[in-house]
């Protein structure tokens, strides 16, 4: 048992596991960015966020496979459609619930989750669809190969964090978004059109879901229930990083993914998730506001 453990620990494959953890972290980070942005500014958790990603994946699939559109263009359209969905979600649902109790807001976005799932099932059927595109892998050594799709996810997640950070800290609109997230009431008194800013934030959050959809569509089958695989983990990553804290969520994604892959490497795969969830529960006891939350 101990010999097996040490052999696994000092194997080249442990290095691969660590790298795979980082790359999975890139996927989770990308998934959590939009959700965190929306919560940070609007103070509403979109339970249906993974379903918006699912609809983005369908958009890309149909445009590319059935419509023959180049993949990059289809991905850009996917981002546009999810941005519109984000805008509509706020315009038609969340906007009316801003003053409602948080449980009502959760129930409404939960209802949207079922609505999106059901609508996708009725419209597209239950079949698994696949882009059939593989970007291949990068051979690092004879034993280690890294997926280009995952490397791309990692790079895009890191890039988006930098761009968003710059946008929020340096642009006028970004400053307004940050200000409104700090005090919603006072900004109205100062003449700021909060409705417009919320809609803009929702559209950006939705657009980020489209970006995640473009990368997930390269790795996973598209079906109405794909959100079930990612929704809960994305939400946990956001909570662990401190809901609304984008940098915190970004870092938490890597903590979470490393726990999953390392746990899954040394024990059975499911133990990786047990380890990650146990860590999450312990972290919630020690720092209920999130591991990387700023002091308010």
């Amino acid at each position: 048992m101990f010999a097996e453990f040490t052999e696994a620990l000092f194997s080249i494959f442990f290095v691969e596991t660590l790298i795979n953890g980082l790359l999975l972290g890139g996927v989770l980070a990308l998934l959590s960015l939009g959700l965190n942005l929306i919560f940070g500014v609007i103070d509403v958790v979109w339970i249906c966020y993974a379903e918006i990603i699912m609809l983005g994946m369908y958009t890309i699939y149909f445009l590319h496979v059935d419509g023959g559109m180049p993949l990059i263009l289809a991905a850009a359209c996917g981002v546009g459609v999810t941005a519109l969905l984000g805008w509509l979600t706020h315009r038609l649902v969340i906007g009316y619930l801003l003053q409602a109790a948080p449980i009502n807001q959760l129930l409404a976005t939960g209802g949207l989750l079922f609505f999106f799932q059901g609508a996708a099932m009725v419209a597209f059927g239950i079949e698994f669809r696949n882009l059939g595109v593989s970007l291949g892998s990068l051979a690092v050594s004879e034993d280690i190969y890294l997926s280009w799709t995952r490397l791309l996810s990692f790079a895009i997640a890191a890039g988006v964090v930098v761009v968003l950070y710059q946008f929020l800290s340096r642009s006028y609109l970004g400053a307004a978004i940050r200000a409104i997230s700090q005090d919603r009431e006072i900004m109205i008194l100062m003449g700021v059109n909060t409705k417009k800013l919320y809609l803009l934030t929702s559209a950006i959050g939705g657009g980020l879901a489209g970006l995640a959809a473009a990368l997930l569509a390269l790795q996973y089958d598209v079906h109405p229930f794909i959100g079930l695989s990612f929704g809960p983990i994305t939400f946990m990553v956001c909570v662990m990083g401190g809901l609304g804290n984008m940098v915190g969520g970004f870092l938490a994604a890597f903590v979470f993914s490393e726990l999953i892959t390392i746990g899954g490497y040394f024990a059975e795969l499911e133990w990786g998730y047990v380890l990650a969830f146990a860590f999450f529960i312990a972290a919630m006891f020690v720092r209920p506001e999130g591991l990387f939350a700023r002091k308010s």
Partner: protein, 441 residues
């Protein structure tokens, strides 16, 4: 106040929409006839299992029910099916089974794709003294050691799947791979529900019996979003052969991550479910799927018509025609459709007529007595195998068809061939994996 009423309207609207979707999942088909046998037909029409094969099984059962009704029913009884959706959730399957029995007053239940649903539902239905005819779910745990009286499964059980793939390896290791079976490095990976565990149990027992080198046996959740750690472990263990049991999203995820991470093997043998939907595998992975093996009851369209009893080839052809009508453009006909159609056909053409004629009714006791007397020889079903259920005390798996047997199939050039057993071979198995495959060792 305005916002609150808007919110209420919105919530009511959303609830109505969700309820509407739930209701569309359950459809009732009525038949105008004096006598009817009301059958609750339960499969997964929604949720991940639907696309993983359940939808195709449901189609097979429906084709057969429609076919029987188009022939005038059975001994004066028309089939009155009530289709219900288990939504890929065991708790929904139990609730639907109870609802159909207690509220819809069905005479019996038929169907069930997922073993995770079958295990609890079978016990519940038996305790309610209702007859249950399982067309699909294969886990040994459904019947083993439970001594159920009213539950019957003409289908092959999971351990048989697991044993056959290893038997196939044992018989071909020396001749095809140039290795003694004892030197063969075998890895078993499976989804961790009763289905995957049951098949993997059969794999493991047989591998140990033949003295093979079992380098890894591991279960995982079929909804796991990442299998990279499992692939890394497999790379470290360097198996020659991987025995895999899974549904659909997890199979394509595994194959994609295996390719990207550079996992290599000499043979990959799948065991039904997602591996039985060849079209989807080819759509997702292209020609990389070539030379993958799949253990399943045979695809009914692969059998030599001459090996079947008189009249059966015509039924096979009709099922195929209806399948193509329901799913236009299908390239490789899935074994799933034929499986449910055949197993339903056995009930409607053998068990039910005997229950009505000999035992005078369609109550659970009559159906049970009729099922226990089933004695169909090889070649007597669309799937080719015979049907016989053990008498009381003869087996620890009461209700299991003792004459059922799967085959090993191989996908080559988007076509399905029978690779094992030798008597049914339509291809000399391509083994080891040709170097042209990205997975070739």
């Amino acid at each position: 106040m305005r916002n609150l009423s808007m919110t209420r309207r919105l919530m009511v609207g959303l609830t109505a929409a969700v309820a509407g979707f739930a209701m569309t999942a359950v459809a009732t088909v009525g038949q105008a006839a004096d006598k009817k046998i009301k059958i609750g037909v339960i499969y997964d029409y929604t949720g991940p299992l639907a696309g993983g094969g359940s939808d195709l099984q449901a189609l097979g059962a429906k084709i057969m029910i429609d076919h029987i009704n188009s022939q005038g029913g059975v001994e004066g009884y028309m089939i009155d099916p009530i289709y219900a959706d288990a939504q890929s959730k065991p708790e929904v399957a139990i609730n639907e089974a109870v609802r159909l029995i207690e509220q819809e007053k069905v005479d019996m239940l038929l169907g069930f794709y997922s073993s995770a649903q079958c295990v609890p539902v079978a016990a519940k239905v038996d305790s309610l003294k209702k007859f249950m005819w399982i067309t699909t779910c294969i886990s040994p745990a459904v019947l083993k050691g439970r001594n159920l009286k009213y539950v019957f499964r003409p289908q092959v059980h999971g351990a048989m799947f697991g044993e056959l793939s290893v038997d196939f390896l044992n018989s071909n290791a020396q001749g095809k791979l140039g290795m003694s079976p004892k030197k063969l490095r075998v890895a078993i990976i499976h989804e961790d529900g009763p289905y995957g565990s049951g098949v993997a149990g059969g794999n493991e027992a047989a591998a140990k019996k033949f003295g093979m080198n079992l380098v890894l046996k591991e279960g995982y959740s079929a909804t796991a979003p990442d299998l990279s750690s499992l692939v890394t472990k497999l790379k470290r263990k360097r198996p020659d052969v991987i025995l895999h049991t899974g549904y659909n999203p997890d199979i394509t995820l595994f194959l994609r991550q295996a390719k990207e991470q550079g996992l290599r093997w000499k043979a990959l043998i799948g065991h039904g479910a997602g591996y039985g939907v060849a079209d989807k595998l080819y759509d997702a992975l292209g020609n990389d799927v070539d030379h993958v093996f799949n253990v399943d009851p045979v695809s009914i369209w692969l059998l030599d018509p001459k090996s079947l009893a008189k009249g059966l080839p015509a039924v096979t052809a009709k099922v195929g025609a209806e399948y193509e009508k329901a799913k236009p453009g299908v390239k490789v006909k899935s074994a799933h459709v034929g499986m449910a159609a055949s197993n339903a056909h056995v009930f409607f053409t053998n068990v039910l007529p005997r229950a009505i004629k000999k035992y005078g009714g369609i109550d659970a006791e009559s159906l049970r007595k009729a099922a226990l007397e089933t004695d169909i020889p090889e070649g007597g079903t669309l799937l080719g195998f015979g049907v016989k259920f053990p008498k009381s005390g003869e087996s620890d798996m009461m209700g299991q068809n003792t004459r059922a047997s799967p085959v090993v199939m191989q996908y080559v050039g988007r076509k399905v061939y029978i690779a094992w057993p030798k008597a049914l071979q339509t291809i000399d198995p391509v083994l080891p994996l040709p170097k042209s495959s990205p997975y070739a060792k």
